[in-house]
Amino acid sequence: MPRIRFRLNGAETTVDADPDRSLLDILRGQLGITGPHFGCGANECGACNVIVGDHAVAACDTPLWSVADKNITTIEGLGSPQRPHPLQRAFIAEQALQCGYCVSGVLMSAAALLMRNPNPTGEDVKAALDRNLCRCGSHNRMVRAVLHAAAEMQAR
């Protein structure tokens, strides 16, 4: 098995696996990282989004070989209850979800947006989240939460 290295949530990580396997399968099946969720397996729903470099990508549609030597951030690396990311704080404050299955992917898309554009408009947020599906209808709360997080980060 080829050995592939990357940085996962800041930690040097090495896996021995078929390089054509999906990053999602490696994260969930081999590394026990369950924040990225399986939704469709076809890059159509965003539930498995993670950040590679500074872009949100669907881990289900990202082959392992393509992340060699890259920085990968999953929801687990975004923040913790002790040190929450402003997005996580804002999602709690806005109660911006119902079932929450899509939310780890939504948060990663939003975090990637704020890395590139720290001062987005509502339209920017909607565009950045447009590949993330939410079936419960929490969209408006999520957009508000992202805008609040952006404002908080700007104010710091």
């Binding site: 939704g39 469709c40 929801i75 979800l97 929450g100 299955y101 909607k126 079936r135 209808g137």
Partner: protein, 712 residues
């Protein structure tokens, strides 16, 4: 043995009457926690928080001490199913009553111990104290106070003004876990030694598995077993990746018979009306001294099959131990699922434990129960190890039950003034429930695939007294002088249907509220005024007046922009909801804003109610603008997000919700109140904007062009 009929003495809430033992609802742990055991389950609606608020309020404990225990057939009260927007009514009332009685029981015990009269005692965060600095607590007393006793009627819960938590928008208890990705979902749960299973399902509807070559699948690394029983086949593997690869190999090496013929999706109404069906008169009302009819107007409305389309595919885990099986599931009804599993496995129910774990948002009877049986069948070949089974997106979109397509005809006889003299409403539809656990035969998918198959369960309708199914909301809330309401339940079911949010309510409210709008146009009357003068229920009038005020009904006419109203009281007994939709467009319609007024009685968690209404409104907008299960004559073809698109962030309307405060009225569920009114409001707004009446959902570019062509 029958019990004597109850007198007019106070009665227990229905869930408590069915499960009277107080200790089955509430227990105190020595560490200072209150464990609450609801029979209802979290399906993304926030129910666990609302129930925790009720318990903390009645017991006077900090909500942080309340631990909500997931429902399990191993010990939870049997509250049937979490559906129909009834959880606050049923579980909430039971917990409120039980906690009020438990508080009183502990006050009695504290009074004995402290030698202080009950009236002098006070409870604060579980500490019971009296004059002279004497105190004890629930936790201290728990060892000597047995709650193994039945609830009795007559406990007095707090009045609305005494409550400090119920009625407040406290934050949901489950949201931090979900935002920090602490595993809560069954999908993220792992047991020691857990294996992974996948089930082979045909693309053709109801095809039989003719031949299956196992050689290639057997060669896949990690394979533990291939299971075959008639048309049911699946794989068990050490890894999820291995299970996927083995399933892929099986798919290549499987030969299926032709399946059964599906209807022509372009002629659904004709097909629905031509099928053998069971007619039922749902309601009739006869006027005394009927005014003479001068003319009759009739219209037909349809809605397509709709998919649940939850973001997660269904998932379950099962583990056998001897002749007993333990199942982890996101089913809406653990006891009902257990009953069906017992039928399929021919086991006594005592040999089966069904335990709830959260799944993704659940909007009705999806594949959660089906995948549980799949896991149970595959786990038989796992030598006592647990097996986790997850469906594919394709199977989720094509093999899970759908919300039933409906054809609805409404006719109104009008007098010389154009007033309604008689109203007739007829529905043709498959039944709207084929849930497990209700019948002598199982309703689980794999049960119909086994070598000794159970017949496919043809969906039925709940009785009107329980809200009805295809006929839900078919009886007008308007006081027309006479009516006749009829429902035709199909006796064939080539496309599998069962409960989807509102059952028939969305279709019937769409039809009634569109037709009312058509009558208003015909009379040249304002549609709000026409509704108000036919409603005598003041709560119904209030939501309509509130929404009209908030939306400045009716804003001036602008090109390409339209406004429409829709109203319903869900199930005619639940929440009241009125909606004004603002749409924009010409060939492509977008919904810009939904203004909503809702009356859910007492709102336990007002922000939770608003969240549910917003979500329902956005989901309904998705149904109306985008959704339709697609099929050719052999197979469901809308089996991906590309072929079954739902509303995206860029398409979501602004939603404003006004909650009418009714702290002293019985709480009513909020999850299904908005779908019907939103649907009708959008259709009416489209007519206002474009002068085109869409009577067949969804409202898409294609349906608009077709309707425009028909009109010219």
């Amino acid at each position: 043995m029958t019990r004597p009929a109850p007198s007019s003495a106070p009665k227990l809430p229905v869930s408590l009457a069915a499960n009277p033992m107080l200790s089955s609802w509430v227990r105190f742990s020595p560490e200072g926690h209150v464990m609450v055991f609801p029979g209802k389950v979290e399906i993304g609606q926030g129910i666990v928080t609302a129930l925790a608020q009720i318990a903390a309020d009645e017991l006077d404990v900090d909500i942080g001490r309340v631990q909500m225990v997931r429902a399990s057939t191993a010990g939870s009260p049997n509250e049937g199913i979490t559906s129909g927007s009834l959880s606050v009514q049923q579980s909430g009332r039971a917990i409120r009553h039980a906690c009020a009685q438990i508080r009183r029981i502990f006050l009695d015990a504290a009074s004995d111990r402290l030698g202080v009269g009950i009236d002098a005692l006070d409870v604060e965060d579980g500490t019971i104290s009296g004059p002279g600095n004497v105190s004890t607590s629930y936790w201290e007393l728990a060892a000597e106070v047995s709650l193994d006793r039945d609830a009795t009627p007559g406990a007095t819960p707090k009045s609305s003004t005494q409550r400090t938590l119920a009625g407040k928008s406290i934050q949901r208890v489950d949201i931090p876990d979900k935002v920090f990705a602490h595993p809560r979902f069954i999908h993220d749960f792992a047991l020691p030694g857990m294996l992974h299973g996948r089930v082979l399902r045909p693309e053709l509807s109801a095809a039989r598995l003719v031949t299956l070559s196992e050689d290639h699948a057997r060669a896949v690394a990690g394979l533990v077993a291939i299971v075959r029983d008639g048309n049911f086949a699946g794989v068990v593997s050490e890894t999820e990746d291995g299970a996927e690869n083995a399933l892929r190999a099986l798919h290549k090496d499987a030969a299926w018979s032709s399946g059964e013929t599906l209807p022509d999706e372009e002629r659904l109404a004709e097909w629905l009306k031509a099928q053998p069906s069971e007619p039922t008169v749902i309601d009739t009302k006869t006027a005394s001294g009927k005014r003479a009819k001068v003319r009759t107007i009739g219209r037909q409305y349809t809605r397509p099959y709709l998919a649940h389309a939850s973001i997660a595919p269904s998932c379950a885990i099962a583990q056998w131990s001897g002749g007993c099986v333990h199942v982890w599931t996101h089913s809406q009804g653990v006891y009902f699922l257990r009953a069906d599993l017992a039928l399929v496995l021919k086991l006594p129910v005592e040999n089966i434990i069904v335990e709830h774990m959260e799944g993704a948002g659940c909007y009705g009877h999806n594949a959660a129960d089906d995948v549980a049986l799949d896991a149970v069948l595959l786990a038989k070949a796992a030598g006592g190890r647990p097996v986790r089974v997850q469906w594919s997106r394709q199977d989720e979109m094509s093999h899970a039950p759908f919300g039933a397509a409906m054809a609805i005809e409404i006719e109104a006889d009008l007098d010389a003034q154009g007033e309604i003299v008689e109203w007739r409403h007829r529905v043709w539809s498959n039944g709207h429930t084929a849930r497990p656990g209700r019948a002598a035969q199982p309703a689980l998918l794999a049960a119909s695939e086994l070598a000794n198959p159970f017949p496919r369960y043809i969906a039925t309708n709940p009785p009107q007294a329980n809200g009805g199914g295809a006929d839900r909301n078919s009886i007008p809330l308007y006081d027309f002088p006479s009516w006749e309401i009829e429902c035709h339940r199909l006796l064939t079911m080539p496309i599998r249907t069962s409960a989807l949010r509102t059952l028939g309510g969305q279709g019937n409210v769409f039809a009634i509220e569109s037709f009312i709008d058509e009558l208003a146009t015909d009379r040249g009357e304002d549609p709000v005024a026409l509704r108000l003068r036919h409603l005598s229920d003041s709560r119904a009038q209030d939501v309509i007046r509130s929404v009209a005020r908030r939306a400045n009904w009716k804003p001036d006419k602008q090109t390409g922009r339209g406004y429409g109203i829709g109203f319903a009281r869900y199930k005619n007994t639940g929440a009241y909801c009125a909606v004004v939709a603002e749409v924009e467009g010409a060939e492509d319609v977008s919904v810009k804003r939904l203004t909503i007024a809702v009356d859910v009685g007492e709102a336990i968690n007002p922000d939770g109610v608003i969240n549910q209404i917003e979500g329902g409104a956005i989901q309904a907008t998705s149904w109306v603008l985008k959704e339709r299960v697609r099929f050719d004559r052999q197979r469901i073809t809308s089996n991906s997000w590309a072929s079954y698109p739902i509303l995206r962030f860029s398409e979501v309307p602004e939603v404003q919700v006004e909650l009418i405060p009714r702290p002293d009225s019985e709480p009513l569920g909020a999850g299904e109140a908005a779908h019907g009114p939103v649907t009708a409001a959008i259709a009416n707004a489209v007519f206002d904007a474009l002068g085109v009446r869409i009577r067949n959902l969804p409202i898409t570019r294609d349906s608009l062009i077709a309707a425009m062509e028909l009109a010219t």
